[in-house]
Symmetry: C2
């Protein structure tokens, strides 16, 4: 198979020269690597709520390239007394780990000159509701295990393809947070009914 220089530039849909230029730039000006991502959420009704994702800070400035917010609905399914207007929050965690690893797989493969034919993954998370329902507070609220299974096909050996997934895992922001946890600060501004 012949690969033209244009194909090479856009290996796996990744603009490899721009990827390497970005890496070089951040290596030289490390403050450009500092990012702040943001979201705002509004309660709709019951367990239904909606998040808007738009601006973020990164590469030394407020990003102005997004012309509209991404809108994400979350709800509980009927069996959890919701109306199923969107995935539950815990399902979004499973999406986040698959998406983060797959972001990385495409980039790592492109940087290594490996053409991918297919990447697909399934994610399962086991969770008991006994803790979060307050029935047995000795049971943790969150997932006790998350399993991600990747199928990866590409123009490389099985060993090279697996190494791409492992490198992505080693560098994944979501994998890091889900396995090691992070500092989460919650603060509250409450506006009571003034007549009380």
């Amino acid at each position: 198979m012949t690969t033209t220089s244009q194909d090479r530039a856009a290996m796996n849909g990744v603009d490899v020269p721009v990827l390497f230029a970005t890496l070089d730039l951040v290596r030289e000006q490390q403050e450009l690597g500092e990012f702040q991502f943001r979201a705002r959420n509004e309660w709709v009704s019951g367990t239904h709520n909606r998040t808007f994702v738009d601006g973020f800070y990164g590469a030394g400035q407020e990003d102005a390239t997004r012309d509209r917010p991404f809108v994400l609905d979350a709800d509980h399914p009927a069996v959890l007394v919701g109306q199923d207007h969107g995935p539950t929050a815990v399902e979004y965690l499973l999406h986040a780990i698959a998406a983060c690893l797959t972001h990385g797989i495409a980039n790592v493969a492109a940087a290594r000159g490996i053409e991918l034919h297919r990447v697909a993954s399934t994610v399962e998370g086991d969770i008991s509701l006994l803790g979060m329902l307050g029935i047995d507070t000795g049971v943790r609220n969150g997932y006790r295990q998350i399993r991600v299974h990747f199928e990866i096909e590409g123009d490389a050996t099985a060993e090279q393809l697996e190494a791409v997934v492992r490198r992505s895992q080693d560098r994944s922001a979501v994998y890091d947070v889900l396995t090691h946890g992070t500092d989460v600060v919650v603060d509250v501004h409450a506006s009571p009914d003034e007549t009380r």
Copy 2:
């Protein structure tokens, strides 16, 4: 203000009798509290990938109430060499924490007979890309801090409203996973190019 029994049943859009009946049922048959959530993701091109969320196991059976999958696109923004077809994986984490806490706030308030007027939150996450780009592997890949700020208005005192948020935080599955981490297993099935 008069509250009819119908309003009371659907306090904050939460069907309170069904919520309490669900709690009672799981308390009596604790195996019903065992859930498995799932997602499947397909790489599209570059950092763009797409997750499908549909079936899950819970309350003793495979759930059959969802008639279509929820579809979630993830991508990197332009500054991170993507095409911005969706939020990044790390932005989905911010959505997940806001959504999970807000799911809980509506339920806890309803269970306590507190009518909510408004719940809104903003989330910020600070992250350095130096680790994930391989420029400084001493820097963690994930968020070093996530901050959630809630505005809550309702028919209760400020203290009662704040207590609703804190109870939701104490029982939140996503808060637990993001602060404590969990076990994440990644396995790979690689299909190499057979001609190599």
